[in-house]
C-alpha cells in the first residue's frame, strides 16, 4: 500500500484524536481547538510558509475516542487505513494513547502526544511518537514536594483514578512522599464511571487525613470535592493538571471548590510573552479563553510544522525529520529538546507545573 | 311479540387470511335463551368475542338495545349491559373468590359490591366451601360457577356463555345448565354456546347452528330436534351409515 502522503491537492490533512464527548470531553475539544487555532494562524498567513509543501493549507479532522482505549485502538486503525491523513495529534488520556500507539507505529503514522503523561509512553523509543509534555514521574514527584513544602500538608489522603494517569501519578507521588518524609495516610483507587465516592472519602477521613490529593481528571475530582464538602469534611484539596478546567468549578459548585489548589502545566494568567500572546489571540479568535490542553496541542503543532518546513512531505519523512531536528522553539513554552525516547529533556530545577487556586469560582493564581 | 335485544347483521371477521365469520346475521329477543352450536372452529367463540367487543369485525353491524356496538370498546359494552363469559373460564387466579366477584362489579356499584359478593358466596354451596381460597386453586366446576356469578355482579340485561360445561364432570355440567335455566326464569336473556348440543337444546328457546363461519340452521329448539339433517350433523344421534362414514373418513385419506 502507499506510504501515506497526507498531502492531496492543495492541503495537508492532520487528525486530532481525543475524547470529544463524555466526562472527559473537554480534553478532546480543547485539544482540537488548539490545533485548529494553529492551523488557522498558518492558513490565514498563506499556508505552510516553506518547504516542499509550501503554500498548502492545513485541514483538521477530528476523531472521538470517548477516553476509551478500545475506541482509541479502533480510531487508530481507521487513521492508519486513511492514507490521506499525514499526522495525528492526540490522544489525551494515557490509557488511550498506550492502546493506540502500537497501531500507529506499525503503519508508520507520526503521533504528536501533547497531553498524555504516563511514563510508559516514552519508556522505550517509539520512532513515530513525539511527546511534548513532561511525564507523570516528574509531575507526581513535583506534586508531592509542593504538598510538603509549599502547601504544608502533614498527612495526605490520596484518591487516584483506575487508569494509567491515576496509576502513574499515584506511584510517583507516594514514592517521592516517602523520600521527603510526607506522611500518606492512605492511597485509594476509584473505578471508572463511579459517581458516588463517599465510601472512599469516608475511608480516607477515618484514616485521619488532613488534606486530600486527587490524582484524576476533572469530573472525578469535582465530584469528590463536592462530596467531601457535603460530608462536612473541610480539608485543603490539591488537584492535577487534568483538573485545570473551569468545568471543575462548574460541576463542584463555587462553594465546594473555593480554595482548591491546582497543579497546572499552563497558567493562562502568565505575563510571559509567549503565553500572554497566545491567550490574547486565541481569545480574540474563539470568543473564550484557551483550556490547558489547547495550549499544549497548539505548541505541539509547531513541532510538526517545523518538520514540514525542513523538508518533510509524507508520514515517513515527518517522523524522520522530527527525529533529526531534535530541538524546537515552542511558541508558548519556548525551547524543547527531545531526548532519545522522544520525551522533552528535563531542565534540572525548572518546575513543570505552577500552582493555581480557585477563588470566587475562578481558577486564578495561588496566593497561599 | 318480545322486543329484540341484540341484533347482528352480515358480520364478517377475519384473522389474517382466515375468514372466521362470513356474513353472519342473528338476533336475540328479550328474555330468550338462544343456543349456538357448531363443530370445532365453526366460529362460535369468534362470534361471541365480536359481540362483546374483544374483536373488531371487518364488516357488518351489531346493535344492542338499539345502540351500535360494532365500534364500541369492550369495556363500554359491559357498561351497556351485555356481559360475556369467555371460554376457558378466565378467573383471576391470585384473587380470592370475593375479589373475583368484586371485579365483576367494576362497572356497577363498586362500593356496595363487597356485601353482595359475600352474600353470593354464602348462598352458593359449591363456592361457600372454598371461600378462603384463591380462585386459582378451585377445580374446574367451581371456577365455572364463580365466573358466571362474577358476570352477574354487573347486573347485565344479557349474558353470553361460551361452553360453560366444557371439561366438567357430568354432574357439574348438569348443574351449570340448570343455573342457566334459572337465570332465564329470572328474566335474564342468554346466548349460550355449547358443544353438548343435546343439553343445550333442552334449555334453549331457539338455536343457531354454525359451520365454517356461516349459519347453517336456525329455528326453534323443538323444530330442529325433529330435523334429521340437523340431528345428524350436530346432535351425534347418527344414523347407522352416517356413523360408518364418520369412522371411515380418516382411513379414506390413506393411499
Amino acid at each position: 500500500s502507499d506510504s501515506g502522503s497526507g498531502a492531496s491537492g492543495d492541503s495537508v490533512t492532520v487528525a486530532v484524536a481525543g475524547p470529544m464527548t463524555g466526562d472527559n470531553g473537554i480534553y478532546g475539544q480543547d485539544q482540537l481547538s488548539g490545533v485548529q487555532f494553529a492551523a488557522k494562524e498558518i492558513n490565514d498567513a498563506g499556508g505552510i510558509p516553506s518547504g516542499p509543501l509550501k503554500g498548502k493549507k492545513i485541514k483538521v479532522v477530528k476523531f472521538d475516542d470517548v477516553a476509551d482505549p478500545n475506541q482509541g485502538a479502533s480510531v487508530a486503525q481507521k487513521i492508519c487505513d486513511d492514507s490521506g491523513i499525514m499526522a495525528v495529534f492526540g490522544h489525551s488520556n494515557s490509557s488511550v494513547t498506550l492502546a493506540a500507539e502500537p497501531i500507529y507505529e506499525r503503519c508508520g503514522v507520526p503521533l504528536f502526544v501533547s497531553y498524555s503523561s504516563n511514563p510508559a509512553i516514552t519508556a522505550e523509543l517509539h520512532k513515530n511518537l513525539f511527546r511534548t509534555l513532561i511525564d507523570d514521574a516528574k509531575m507526581g514527584a513535583e506534586m508531592a514536594s509542593y504538598s510538603h513544602d509549599q502547601l504544608g500538608f502533614k498527612k495526605v489522603g490520596v484518591l487516584a483514578s483506575d487508569d494509567d494517569y491515576g496509576d502513574g501519578l499515584k506511584t510517583n507521588f507516594t514514592k517521592t512522599a516517602d523520600e521527603i518524609g510526607l506522611d500518606v495516610a492512605k492511597a485509594v483507587t476509584t473505578s471508572a464511571k463511579q459517581k458516588d465516592f463517599t465510601p472512599q472519602l469516608t475511608e480516607l477521613k477515618n484514616a485521619g487525613a488532613d488534606s486530600l490529593v486527587l490524582l484524576n481528571t476533572y469530573t472525578d475530582a469535582a465530584l469528590q470535592i463536592k462530596q467531601a464538602y457535603a460530608m462536612g469534611w473541610k480539608v485543603p484539596i490539591f488537584v492535577t493538571p487534568g483538573s485545570n478546567s473551569p468545568e471543575l468549578v462548574k460541576i463542584a459548585g463555587d462553594k465546594a471548590a473555593e480554595g482548591v489548589i491546582v497543579a497546572a502545566v499552563f497558567d493562562p494568567n502568565s505575563t510571559a510573552p509567549g503565553p500572554s500572546k497566545f491567550v490574547k489571540d486565541f481569545t480574540a479568535a474563539n470568543g473564550k479563553g484557551p483550556g490547558e490542553s489547547a495550549a499544549m496541542s497548539y505548541d505541539s503543532f509547531y513541532v510538526f510544522l517545523k518538520s514540514l518546513e525542513e523538508g518533510a512531505d509524507d508520514r515517513a519523512s515527518v517522523i524522520k525529520k522530527t527525529d533529526e531536528i531534535g530541538t524546537f522553539t515552542l511558541p508558548i513554552r519556548g525551547e524543547l529538546i527531545f531526548n532519545e525516547t522522544h520525551e522533552p529533556t528535563v531542565v534540572p530545577g525548572k518546575p513543570a507545573q505552577v500552582l493555581l487556586q480557585v477563588k470566587d469560582g475562578q481558577i486564578g493564581s495561588y496566593t497561599g | 311479540m318480545p322486543e329484540t335485544l341484540l341484533r347482528a347483521d352480515d358480520l364478517t371477521v377475519r384473522y389474517g387470511p382466515v375468514t372466521a365469520l362470513n356474513g353472519i346475521s342473528l338476533h336475540v329477543d328479550e328474555g330468550e335463551v338462544v343456543a349456538l352450536v357448531g363443530a370445532n372452529g365453526a366460529g362460535k367463540s369468534t362470534l361471541l368475542k365480536t359481540l362483546s367487543g374483544l374483536i373488531r369485525p371487518a364488516g357488518g353491524s351489531i346493535t344492542f338495545q338499539g345502540k351500535d356496538l360494532a365500534r364500541t370498546a369492550a369495556h363500554d359494552i359491559v357498561k351497556s349491559g351485555l356481559v360475556h363469559v369467555p371460554e376457558g373460564r378466565h378467573v383471576f387466579p391470585r384473587f380470592t373468590l370475593k375479589e373475583n366477584l368484586l371485579a365483576g362489579a367494576f362497572t356497577n356499584d363498586f362500593k356496595s359490591a363487597g356485601k353482595r359478593a359475600e352474600e353470593i358466596i354464602a348462598g352458593t354451596p359449591i363456592l361457600a366451601r372454598r371461600a378462603g381460597s384463591t380462585a386459582g386453586q378451585l377445580s374446574g366446576g367451581e371456577q365455572q360457577m364463580l365466573v358466571i356469578q362474577r358476570a352477574l355482579m354487573a347486573d347485565p340485561r344479557m349474558i353470553m356463555l361460551d361452553e360453560p360445561s366444557m371439561g366438567l364432570s357430568p354432574v357439574l355440567a348438569d348443574e351449570v345448565l340448570e343455573l342457566v335455566a334459572q337465570l332465564s326464569e329470572r328474566g335474564m336473556t342468554v346466548l349460550l354456546v355449547e358443544q353438548n348440543a343435546l343439553g343445550a337444546l333442552d334449555i334453549a328457546d331457539r338455536v343457531y347452528a354454525l359451520a365454517t363461519g356461516e349459519v347453517l340452521f336456525e329455528g326453534r329448539s323443538d323444530d330442529l330436534r325433529a330435523n334429521p339433517q340437523f340431528a345428524d350433523q350436530f346432535l351425534g344421534v347418527v344414523s347407522a351409515d352416517a356413523e360408518r362414514r364418520a369412522h371411515e373418513e380418516p382411513e379414506a385419506a390413506t393411499p
Binding site: - | S139, G167, S169, G236
Partner: protein
C-alpha cells in the same frame, strides 16, 4: 384394593400428592396391565390429572410407592420414564410447540433415540434423521393427519391438535400411553372417531392405554376397566357397567341424568 392384574407394567401403592394444604391425591392404589385400556374418571379436582403427572414423573408424589416394570420409580425423572420405560402421555391443556410444524413436533417424540453425534452428522446417508422422518410419516398417517405434516401445529383445528399430541406420544414407541381428556371439546361425532383411534392404537401398536375422560361414551366404549377417583381416593373400581351403576359414583360424579337413565 384387590389386585386384578398379574405382572403389571405399572403399580402405585398408597400414592399421595399434596400442594401446600391441598391434598390432590390422598392414598391411591393403582395397577396397569401390559395390554389393557383403563378408564380413569372422577369429579373435577378429584386428582386424575395429578395421578397422571405423578405416574409420568412430572410431579413427585409426597407419599407411597411407585413401580415401573417392578422397579421403584418414585424418584425417576419424566425423561427417564419416557426414555427407558416407555411411558408417553398427552396433556389436558394441549401443549404443542407453537413455532414448530406438525412434523417437527412429532420428531421431538423421537429424540430419545438420537445420539449426541447425530447433531454433527445429521445428513449423511442412512442417518438417524432420515429414518426418523420416515417413521414420522407413518405415524401421522396412522392418526389420520398425514396431509398436515408441514403446517404449524397450533394453526390446526382443535381436534387435529389433539391428534398431533397423540402422534408425538406414539413417536416415543411407548409401552404405556396416558391420555388426559382426549375428547374434551370435541363434538359427539369427533369423539366417535377418537374412540376408534384408541382401539386401533391398542390393537395394532400393542400397548397399554390409560384414558381420563368426562365423556362417558368414550370411557364406556374403550375401557375394559374403570377406576373412579374422588377427593384423591379411589371410590370404585371394576368393569364399566358395574362402576357406572355404583351409587357412590352416581352420586359424586354422574348425576341425575345417569341415575334416571
Amino acid at each position: 384394593m384387590s389386585t386384578t392384574v398379574t405382572d403389571p407394567i405399572f403399580r402405585a401403592t398408597g400414592v399421595g400428592c399434596r400442594f401446600g394444604g391441598v391434598i390432590a391425591l390422598d392414598s391411591v392404589d393403582f395397577e396397569i396391565g401390559r395390554n389393557e385400556i383403563v378408564g380413569l374418571i372422577g369429579p373435577n379436582g378429584s386428582g386424575k390429572t395429578t395421578l397422571l403427572n405423578v405416574l409420568s414423573g412430572i410431579y413427585k408424589s409426597t407419599s407411597g410407592e411407585l413401580e415401573v416394570d417392578g422397579r421403584p420409580s418414585r424418584f425417576m425423572s419424566s425423561r427417564r420414564l419416557s426414555r427407558d420405560y416407555g411411558l408417553a402421555r398427552t396433556f389436558q391443556n394441549i401443549r404443542l410447540c407453537s413455532s414448530l410444524t406438525v412434523r417437527e413436533n412429532v420428531l421431538i417424540g423421537m429424540h430419545s433415540r438420537f445420539k449426541w453425534y447425530d447433531s454433527i452428522l445429521p445428513f449423511g446417508p442412512g442417518s438417524r434423521e432420515k429414518k426418523a422422518a420416515a417413521n414420522v410419516e407413518e405415524i401421522l398417517e396412522f392418526v389420520g393427519i398425514g396431509d398436515k405434516a408441514d403446517e404449524i401445529a397450533t394453526d390446526l383445528a382443535y381436534g387435529d391438535q389433539r391428534r398431533v399430541e397423540i402422534a408425538r406420544a406414539l413417536a416415543t414407541s411407548p409401552r404405556l400411553l396416558l391420555l388426559d381428556e382426549p375428547a374434551a371439546g370435541m363434538n359427539p361425532r369427533e369423539a366417535r372417531v377418537l374412540v376408534d383411534l384408541i382401539h386401533r392404537i391398542h390393537a395394532e401398536r400393542d400397548m397399554a392405554v390409560v384414558v381420563i375422560e368426562h365423556n362417558m361414551n368414550v370411557v364406556m366404549n374403550t375401557a375394559s376397566r374403570v377406576m373412579v377417583l374422588d377427593a384423591g381416593l379411589c371410590i370404585a373400581h371394576g368393569d364399566p357397567k358395574t362402576v357406572s351403576a355404583d351409587p357412590h359414583v352416581l352420586e359424586a360424579y354422574l348425576g341425575k341424568r345417569f341415575r334416571d337413565a
